[in-house]
Structures are given as structure tokens and as C-alpha cells.
Symmetry: C2
Subunit: 457 residues, 2 copies
């Protein structure tokens, strides 16, 4: 069998760092997504770029699928081996290779997690800004074009990956980008790779943009009677040019989940959670101006987190929101939806989603990154019930249809994998065919994470 | 002849908006670059996307080169028809199609210039930020991945183009991106097109990110005894997180050019020109903090432009710098070099460039976007002298070699065209081959702006 032949050669290359143990296969068959387990034929733990290139070369010769793996936090099945083959686990490639403090960049291997990276950066006064909540790997975040709570100020992975070393489908190693802050030299291969979910190449090194730790941070939570008012406050804040470091929305159901899961004491109405970064004076002024705008839109119960530990508690609560929501129905599986719309349509999109879910037998708290127009419903369903799974997918599908009709996108930050494949034609039209052309050109044998992102037949 | 056959069909499509008049051909054979004129066989003035698609379809059938044209301000020969064919002039596709003020975006045709766009936006309180100096078209700026003085704060065209309508090499029309602020849905075709210089497709519509006009603007110019001191001040300012809207460097020779051309009265030493945007309090605080940092690095002669007309004068002087420098040697041609390096190496790169030029018989004032690590030397040479042209190119080549050795790029914002083709292999290695693979996949007949960006044989 072709996969067996590939595994034999890979074993010759990396020895026991290729494993077929049941526990390893099971672990790499799962993810935090709602898809059924689908283990690979083997898991490889390379330690160097040369080993990754060797593995991919072998797989190319044998037509064996290659699936990249960070820590398995992707939500659309990106890291699952639906066609078998070799999962390449980057756990052992988790080093910081260079910190360039003056240039505010860092060079890392793909397997480092964002929390580990920020731990290593702590003494430099710099930080890596992208924060999707989960402690994902940098490689996985880049390949999913992840974003999260801070994107409104510091951008997504699109904005914060300056360059990459990539193993291509034939095993060739290329470098994209430079350490310069900008360039007009050729096609933007870095941007092409970011968000490509391992279907065009495997990242083996990444150069990331860093930001200075702010002198002052100011965080708060406040309540609104209706979501529309909250959105209007956010739009006005953005238009005034007040720089928000984070601006998060949670609905009444999520507030209830926080009360139960995190012992919060929030009124069960929509809330905004905000953060400002700047100088002592600047952050205070921004917070004050936001407060005035929010109050004019009916905000109540402003709770400013003055002490660092209060801020940590506030954002830990937000980061654990998916778990808090899931706990509303013990034993249920979550389908975490993810759409992004122009902000002028956000209130309408959220309200229509809320009405859909209220009319459904399923529960589904809503929360999101209101500054970007990106939000999620955490739809809770019984994994054993086909009817409930179908209903959860129907609710997600209605959200996507609505987002596309509003000029938005099927996914703000979770990506396509297999979970959003069915919406690609509707979102992109003929451009999805262009994506398939690129895939065929760069991976003619379709060995890199096959079945994700594009359809080739 | 194949080109003649194509022209006949295009004439049938758009009538007299296809022209072969000598004045039209001459105009479109030139650019602001230093390359000898190279006129196309004809110039087409389409008015709709369908006409552009029709023209490209005809050219695809006949193997006729298609060269896109905005206003001809590109500096590396991007818009010149070195292989003949049809130049597609977008002058008649210059409309604003939609202003979405709440979403802070705008949809435009490619032929609108940035100044015309900002004129149309004036009443909205919003502006389009990218400002390369020249009053280029938005289509040309996107395709060159232009940036300029405000990139340090608001980003380059990479950051400010949200989506495009593109006519592909077979005449198919695709749409890239959405009006959502972010997306993880598929390969980033928008980023692939931005900076592709018309070699992968022709932009017929662009959706752009807008920014709020700042409440307050604070500008200044100040002098330094040595460039190193100025760079150290800039690095410290960036690391402190003080948001600069512009931070421009001019050397002593440029200061002299300003004195002669613009009637300035600057000491003939290195200068920084800065601008801060924010609230009244915020911009003032930022300016004050910058002033303290600059003074600690030996800045003198701070001249704050308080009145709007003083600011206008200051930045008009900067925008006309290339003309001011050229006027130092009447009748000479300019070769405007363009490298970008990590900012930690900027002082070294500028000083080495200065020493190179001082040792050369040619004049070459240096200026640039110090916040990005991007700078230019305006090398003045006699077009009739092969020896001087060779010397100018040698100086430019040394700058590029040095930039690449420092982890930088051959071009920060002017692009590749034909002028920087010879450096692509050195900058990108095997990744340049990947670019050629993409070009072959998307333009298999090599009709779109052939001879630029990649080499196919």
C-alpha cells in the first residue's frame, strides 16, 4: 500500500518519532471541533525543517496525505486526517529562534504556543498580540488566519506574520517575506500561506511582528438594555478614532453562563467588555471618552477593572466563554459558529441569529468581537442525536447565508477546513475556482491536507 | 499578425476608444521612471468591467500582451509596453461606486486618483490614508503595493485594500475579499493581487478601508547633527508605542534641495519631519513626548507647524522632494532608488549609501520613511551618458545588495517591474520559482504585463 510504503521510509528517517500507537492516533484524530474522530495512519514528530522536508518528499513520492498539527484547537476539522496519511505534529519544533527587540520582531518555530511565546518575551517589554482565546500554536494560528479579541487594535495573523519558511508539496523549502516592515518585491507569498490551512505548504519557521507592552491598560465591563445600543456605541467610538485594544460583546445568555461558570454577578442582559492601551494619560482619556459615548447609548453598571488581577479575571472569564457556554448543558457538544459582517449590519445579524436560536429547541449563547463585526453562537447539541446535529448545522447555515447576503464572510477567524467547505462557492463564486487553480499549481498531487479548503473535481 | 488581429477585434468592441494615435502611443510609452520610451501598439480606454473582460478575452485568443495603465507614475517600468500589445488605460473608470461611512469603507473604480478620492470623501469625515506622494491612481497603487509617508501609522496598500474585482487572464471576472473587516475563508486572493503589477489580473473595482479624519494634527520639523541620532530617536519613539502618523527623514543634501526649490530655510543637516494624529489632548501629548525623546538625542531647531497652512506647506515640500532633488542638476534624469531594511540597520544602511554616493561623481540626496526602514536616494544622471547611467545603476545595486544582506528588501514601495527583476533571485531564492509557478497557473499564455515581476524561462 502506498501509505505503508511512505511510513516505512519515514520510519527510516526519524525512527521512533514516527508512531502508530493507538493513543497517539486517537489524540490526533480528535479536535475541539464537532466532527467525529478520524485518526491518521501515523503521527510524525519532526525536530528540524530538513526532517519535515524529508517527510513531505517521501509522501509526495508515495501519494500519502500529510496533515499538519499544532495542538488541535482548530474548530472546522482542519487538523483531522479524514483521508488518513501522516499527521505531522510540530510539538518538538517549539523554539524561539531570535528576538529582535529593536526591530520588534521575533523568529519562532511553528510549534510554540502563544502563551509560551509571550512568557519568553516578558522581559523584553514586547508582546505578541494575536489572542484567539485557546492556547494555540503559532503555526496553527498562522495557517488558520486566527485573530481574536485584540484584532481590532493590533490586527489578525494576516497583519502580524512578516515571513515564513515553508516546506512545499515537493519537499522544497522556500522563504517568504523579509524582516523589513514592508516590501513591494513580488507576490505576497506570506499572505498566500497565512490562512491556507496547510493545503499549500507546511510552515517550519515564522517571523512575527511584536508590539510594545502598553504603559497603561484600562478595562471595563458595562451593560446595555439591547444589543443595538451597544453596537451604536461601538460604531461611534470607532468613528471618533478612539483606539480600542479589545471590544467584546456577550449576550444575555452568555452573561448567565458567566454567572454560573465563573461566579460572575452580571445582570442577564447584553454586555460590552472593553480595554484601552496607551500612556497613563492616553488610556485614561480613551476610557473616559468611551464611557461618555456608551452612557449616551444607555450603558449602565460600568465596572472598571483597575487592578491587574481584576483585569486578568475579566479576560479569563471571556477566554473561557466557550467552556462556560458549554457548561449550560452538561454533556452536550458545541458547534461554535463564526461569521463576520460589515459593522453597520452587525446588530441586525446578531438579532436575527438570536431570534433563530430562540425559535429553535437548542440553546446558543452569542458572543463576539464587535469591533470587527465578527461573532459566534455556541450552539449546544446532543452528539448522539442526529436531529439535534442537523438543527445545529441548520442554525449555523442560516447565519452564514445571512452574513453573505450582508457582504460578509462565512468565517471571521475559524477557517474552512471541512466544516465551511459547502459555503465557499456561495461566498467566492468563480474565485473559488481560482483558489483550486492555485492549489493544483502548488500541490499537483493533492497530498497537503487534502479535502480541506478547496474541491478539486 | 496576432496583435493586429487582436486590435481589429478590440476596435469592434470599443470603437474609437481604441487609439493608435502617435501622441497616445508616446504618452503611454513613457513613465516617471528612467527607462527609455517603449510605446504599445494601441491604447484602449474601457468604460466598464465587461469591456475590460472583453479586451482581455480577445488578447488571450491572439496572444497579445495587455499592459494596465493608471497615470504612469510607476518608477520601475511597470506600465511600459516593452513587448508591445495593448495598454489598457483606466482613465474612464474613475468613479466612486459606494461610500459606506458607517463601515468606513469605499468602493471605487481603479482609475480614480487618491487626491480625487479624498476630495470626494471630504464631507464624510473619513479619508483614504495611503499617500505615496505622486497623485497616482488607486488601481496603480494597489497593483504596486504602494505606501508612502503615512504607512507607519495606517499601513500600506496591503493593509488598506479589502477586496477587488479582477479580470483574469482568460477574461473571467472574479471578486476577492468581502466588506467584512476580516475573514478566514480561503486563500487571500486580495493580498495575492495587491502588488502583482497587473501580471496576474487587471483590477476593475476596489474596496478600500477608510480612516476617520483626526480631530487634531500636530506636525514639526527638527534637525540632527547626524542621522544615527535621528534613527535612535525614532526607534525609541516606536518602542514607547507613541503613534506617529508620519515620520520622514531627509539628509543634508535634500535639505539643501528644499532651500533652493521650495524656499525653505533649513540648516543643511539631517532632519526629521513628523506628524501626530489624535484627539486635541492626545496629539499634543504625543508631540510633547516625541519632542522630549528627540531632544535627548540632540534634536535642535524644532519648528512646529501649528496652522493648517503651515502643515500643508511642510508636506507639500516633502511630497515634491523628488522634483526638488532633481532640480539640483537641471536637465538630469533621476534614478529613484528604494530599499527597506529592519530599522535596527537603518542608520548603517543610510550612512553606507551616503558614503557610496559621496565617493561617486554623481549627486544623490537621500530621504525616506524612517518609521518603516524604507529610504530612497535620488541619483541624478545625464540620460545621454552611458557611463553615468551605469554608475547610477551601480549605486542602486549596491544599496540593494546591502539591504538584502541586512534582512531587508530590494524595494519597499516602488515594486519590481523590469527595474528590479535582476534582484528577485537574490531576495527570494527558490520562492521566486514559486512566484513563476503562480504566474504560469493564472496566466498560462503570459499575456498580462509580460516581462515584469517573474522570469518564465
Amino acid at each position: 500500500m502506498t501509505i505503508d510504503a511512505a511510513l516505512t521510509e519515514i520510519f527510516n528517517l526519524i525512527g521512533n518519532r514516527l508512531t502508530r500507537s493507538k493513543s497517539d492516533l486517537d489524540l490526533h484524530g480528535r479536535s475541539e471541533s464537532h466532527f467525529p474522530p478520524s485518526p491518521p495512519d501515523a503521527v510524525a514528530y519532526p525536530e528540524t525543517t530538513a526532517e519535515v522536508a524529508g517527510i513531505v518528499s517521501i509522501c509526495a513520492r508515495h501519494g500519502c496525505p500529510v496533515v499538519p498539527w499544532g495542538v488541535g484547537t482548530s474548530l472546522e476539522g482542519q487538523a483531522q486526517a479524514f483521508q488518513g496519511g501522516v499527521t505531522v505534529d510540530f510539538t518538538r519544533m517549539d523554539k524561539v529562534l531570535a528576538v529582535n527587540a529593536e526591530d520588534m520582531d521575533v523568529v519562532v518555530q511553528p510549534g510554540i504556543t502563544r502563551e509560551a511565546l509571550n512568557e519568553e518575551l516578558r522581559a523584553t517589554g514586547l508582546f505578541f498580540s494575536v489572542d484567539p482565546g485557546a492556547n494555540a500554536t503559532i503555526g496553527g494560528m498562522a495557517m488558520t488566519r486566527a485573530s481574536g479579541t485584540t484584532a481590532v487594535r493590533y490586527g489578525t495573523m494576516r497583519d502580524n506574520v512578516m515571513g515564513m519558511e515553508v516546506v512545499m508539496a515537493d519537499g522544497q523549502v522556500i522563504r517568504t517575506g523579509t524582516r523589513a516592515r514592508k516590501s513591494s518585491a513580488g507576490y505576497d507569498l506570506t499572505a498566500l500561506m497565512v490562512g491556507s490551512e496547510g493545503t499549500l505548504g507546511l510552515a517550519t519557521e515564522l517571523t512575527l511582528r511584536l508590539h510594545g507592552q502598553p504603559e497603561a491598560v484600562s478595562s471595563a465591563v458595562c451593560a446595555f438594555a439591547a444589543f443595538d445600543e451597544a453596537v451604536d456605541a461601538v460604531i461611534e467610538t470607532i468613528q471618533m478614532g478612539i483606539p480600542m485594544a479589545r471590544i467584546e460583546f456577550v449576550d444575555a445568555a452568555t452573561a448567565r453562563a458567566f454567572n454560573i461558570y465563573a461566579g460572575a454577578n452580571l445582570p442577564e442582559v447584553p454586555h460590552l467588555m472593553v480595554e484601552f492601551h496607551g500612556s497613563d494619560r492616553g488610556a485614561a482619556e480613551d476610557a473616559e471618552r468611551f464611557g461618555e459615548i456608551a452612557n449616551a447609548h444607555g450603558a449602565t453598571g460600568f465596572d472598571w477593572a483597575v487592578k491587574p488581577e481584576d483585569r486578568t479575571r475579566l479576560w479569563r472569564m471571556r477566554h473561557n466563554a466557550a467552556y462556560a457556554c458549554a457548561a449550560l448543558r452538561p454533556g452536550a457538544r458545541s458547534l461554535v459558529t463564526d461569521i463576520c459582517v460589515p459593522i453597520s449590519r452587525l446588530a441586525e445579524a446578531v438579532n436575527a441569529t438570536r431570534a433563530d436560536i430562540d425559535a429553535s429547541p437548542l440553546e446558543g449563547p452569542i458572543l463576539g468581537h464587535v469591533g470587527d463585526g465578527n461573532f459566534h453562537a455556541v450552539i449546544l447539541f446532543d452528539e448522539a442525536s442526529d436531529a439535534e446535529r442537523t438543527e445545529a448545522l441548520r442554525l449555523s447555515g442560516r447565519m452564514v447565508d445571512r452574513a453573505l447576503a450582508m457582504g460578509g464572510t462565512a468565517t471571521g477567524e475559524h477557517g474552512i477546513g471541512v466544516g465551511k467547505l459547502d459555503y465557499m462557492a456561495a461566498e467566492h463564486g468563480a474565485a473559488w475556482g481560482t483558489m483550486a487553480t492555485l492549489k493544483r499549481a502548488l500541490d499537483p498531487l493533492n497530498i497537503l491536507n487534502p479535502g480541506k479548503m478547496v474541491r478539486l473535481n
